[in-house]
Point group: C2
Chain length 327, copies 2
DNA sequence: GCCGAGTGTGCAATCGGTTGCAAGCTGCTG
DNA sequence: CAGCAGCTTGCAACCGATTGCACACTCGGC
C-alpha cells in the first residue's frame, strides 16, 4: 500500500541507497539527483518505514512511559508534558498504566523496554535493584523517584514540606498530622522525612498516621484517625487524599479550616475547585514530563553523558483550607 | 544485547526456521525438538523482536489511541479500558492527546497510523470525510463518534438525555437549560438533539445557552447565562462543566439544588466528590475502551467482517444536586 | 598525457524474524 | 523390496530500510 524506498528509487531512476542518502544525508548526493529524488518521494507520499529503519539502526523512534495510575490527575499532567516534548522530537509515546500493581509493573516495563529507545518511569514502585537491572540494558529516566545515580527528574519534596510547615507554623499550629501514601512510594518516604526535619526545625510536633492508598478513599479512611490525634492541621500525601479528608471532615461536621487546616500536595486542577479550595504545594508536573524526555533524548544522542539529575521546586499555593488553629 | 532467533537456534542445535515454528506454530514440529527449543528460548530469555516480525508479517502488534484531552478525567478512564483489553491481547498502545486542537488532530492520527495495526479514535473532532479517508487505509474504530458506517462504540445519548429529563420533569421542573460543549463535538450535538426530543415528549421547555469549552472554566462561564434564563434546572455537556456551574452558582450564593438543579454527564470520579454531590449520567467509559479494542482486534483478524457498531447505555445517578424546583 | 584527490553513485551485506519449497527420513502398503 | 505418503527439518528468499566499500568519473596539477 504505502510507497517504499524501492518505489521512489525506480521513479527517480536511481538506486535505493541513493534515495536513502538523498533523504537522510543530503550533503552526500549531487544537488540535481537530490532534487529528483525529493520530488519523486513527495509525489509518492513516501514515508520511511520505522520498523525497517529501526531494525538496522537499532533505534525505534519510540519511547515508553510507565506510571501507576492515570486515574490520579497528577499523572495525566505528566503525560501531557512528556507528549509535548516527544512530539517536538518526532517521537511517539507508548503509555502504560500499572494500576498501582507492583507485581505488574516490572512486567510492563520489560515488555515496553524492548520496543523503545528509552523509558520514562514515573513514580515507579519497584525495588531499586530491579530498576537498576532495567537501566542496565535500556536507557531509563526516572521521574519522581531516585535510585542511586540513575538519571532522574525529581521534585524537591524536602523544600516543599518546609514551605508547608513554615506556613502552618506561622499560622500558629503546633501539632501537625501527616497522612502518608503507599509504603512502596519513594515520594511518600521523602515527604515524610522532609516533614520530620521541617517540624523539628520549627519546633512543631509531627504525628504520622500511617500509610493510605493515594486517592480519595484513602483520605476518607484517614480522616478519623487524623481527628483522633488532636492535630490542628494535617498534611496529606497528595491532593486526592486531601480532598478525601475534606469530604470526611465535612461529613462529620468538622469545619475546615476553622477546626482543622488541610494541606495537599500536587495542585491538581481539582484542588482549586474543592470546597474549601485546597492549600497545596504546586508541583510543576508538565515541566517534569518535558524535562524527563529532554534528559532521555540527550542520553540517547550521547550515551557517554554522565547521567543527570534535575530537581524541580514546588510552590505553596495558599487557599482557603488553612487558617489559624482554634484557640 | 537481547537474544535473537539465531542464538536460540544455535543453543538448541536447530535452524532458525525450526525455532520460529516451534514457538509460533508448535504443531508443525516434533514434540522433542519443540521442548528443546522452548527450554533454550527460556534459558536465554528470548523475546521475538516486534519490529522484525512486523516487517515480514505486516503487523506491528501495536495500536494507537487518539483523544482530545487527558486533562478531562473522562479520557483517562477510556485509556484504562483500552489498555486493559490491549494488554490481554499482548498489544502495546500509543496514546496521543490532541489538546482539543482540531488542526493537530489529523496530523497525529496520520503519524500514528503508519506505525500501528489499528487506531481507536476517541471523540475525534475532525471532519467525517477526513476520518473516512484515514479509515480507507488503516483499520479504525471510533469511540463516541459516528461517521457513516465506520465501526464505532457509542453511548446512547438520546436515552441518557431521556433519563435526565424524565428525572427532572418528575421533580416538577418545566424549564430546563442546556449548556452545550464544543461546536465540533459530535456528542454535544447528539445530546442536544436527544434533549430536544425528550423535552418535547415531557412537555418541558428547553433553553440552549450555547457552546462552551468542555471543562471547569466552561461551566464557570456558562453559569450566569444559565441563571439569566430563569431555568430551574440545567443539564451540562459533561461533569466538568457541571462542576464549574456548581462553583459559580455557589460563589453567587445561588443554592443548589434549592434554587436550581444541576445534572452532569459522564460520572467522573469527581462528580461524587462535588458538593453537593452531582446527579449525573454514568457512562461506562472503561467498558467502551475495552469494547473498542475488542472490535478493532476482530476487524484485524478478519478484515472481511462487516463493520460493527456498539451502543452502550448510560445510567442516571441521582445524587444531591437535583431536587424539586423552588415554588 | 598521466596521476591523485575528491565527488557521486551503486552493490551487497545486514538487522531479526517468517514462510514457501524441497529434501531427508520413517513406516506402511502392495 | 520398491514406492509412496506423511512428518520434520533446513535452505533461502523476503520484508524495507541503512551503510561500508569499491568503482567510475571529473578536474586540476605537473
Amino acid at each position: 500500500m504505502a510507497a517504499t524506498l524501492r518505489d521512489v528509487a525506480r521513479l527517480a531512476g536511481v538506486s535505493t541507497s541513493t534515495v536513502s542518502r538523498a533523504l537522510s544525508l543530503p550533503d552526500l548526493v549531487n544537488p540535481a539527483t537530490r532534487a529528483r529524488v525529493r520530488s519523486a518521494a513527495d509525489s509518492l507520499g513516501y514515508e520511511p518505514n520505522k520498523a525497517a529503519r529501526g531494525l538496522i539502526t537499532g533505534r525505534t523512534g519510540n519511547l515508553g512511559l510507565v506510571l501507576p495510575d492515570l486515574g490520579n490527575p497528577f499523572f495525566p499532567s505528566v503525560v501531557k508534558g512528556v507528549q509535548a516534548r516527544a512530539r517536538a522530537a518526532d517521537v511517539a509515546v507508548f503509555v502504560a498504566d500499572t494500576d498501582e500493581d507492583v507485581a505488574a509493573e516490572m512486567g510492563l516495563i520489560r515488555a515496553l523496554a524492548q520496543q523503545v529507545d528509552g523509558l520514562v518511569l514515573c513514580s515507579p514502585r519497584a525495588e531499586g535493584d530491579d530498576l537498576k537491572a532495567i537501566a542496565a540494558d535500556t536507557t531509563v529516566v526516572l521521574l519522581n523517584r531516585l535510585v542511586d545515580d540513575l538519571p532522574a527528574v525529581v521534585f524537591d519534596h524536602e523544600d516543599g514540606m518546609r514551605q508547608a510547615v513554615a506556613h502552618l507554623a506561622a499560622l500558629g499550629h503546633r501539632r501537625i498530622a501527616w497522612v502518608g501514601g503507599p509504603a512502596a512510594s519513594w515520594s511518600s518516604d521523602q515527604r515524610g522525612q522532609g516533614l520530620s526535619q521541617a517540624s523539628a526545625d520549627h519546633g512543631v510536633e509531627l504525628i504520622e498516621v500511617g500509610h493510605f492508598p493515594p486517592h480519595y478513599d484513602g483520605g476518607m479512611a484517614a480522616a478519623d484517625q487524623v481527628v483522633a490525634t488532636g492535630a490542628t492541621a494535617v498534611i496529606a500525601y497528595n491532593d486526592l487524599v486531601a480532598i478525601g479528608l475534606l469530604a470526611r471532615l465535612h461529613a462529620r461536621g468538622i469545619a475546615v479550616p476553622e477546626r482543622i487546616s488541610v494541606v495537599g500536595i500536587d495542585d491538581i486542577a481539582m484542588a482549586a475547585m474543592a470546597r474549601p479550595a485546597l492549600t497545596t504545594i504546586r508541583l510543576p508536573k508538565e515541566q517534569a514530563g518535558r524535562l524527563a524526555v529532554e534528559l532521555l533524548l540527550t542520553l540517547l544522542d550521547s550515551p557517554a553523558t554522565t547521567p543527570e539529575r534535575r530537581t524541580l521546586q514546588g510552590d505553596l499555593m495558599v487557599r482557603a483550607s488553612t487558617a489559624e488553629p482554634p484557640r
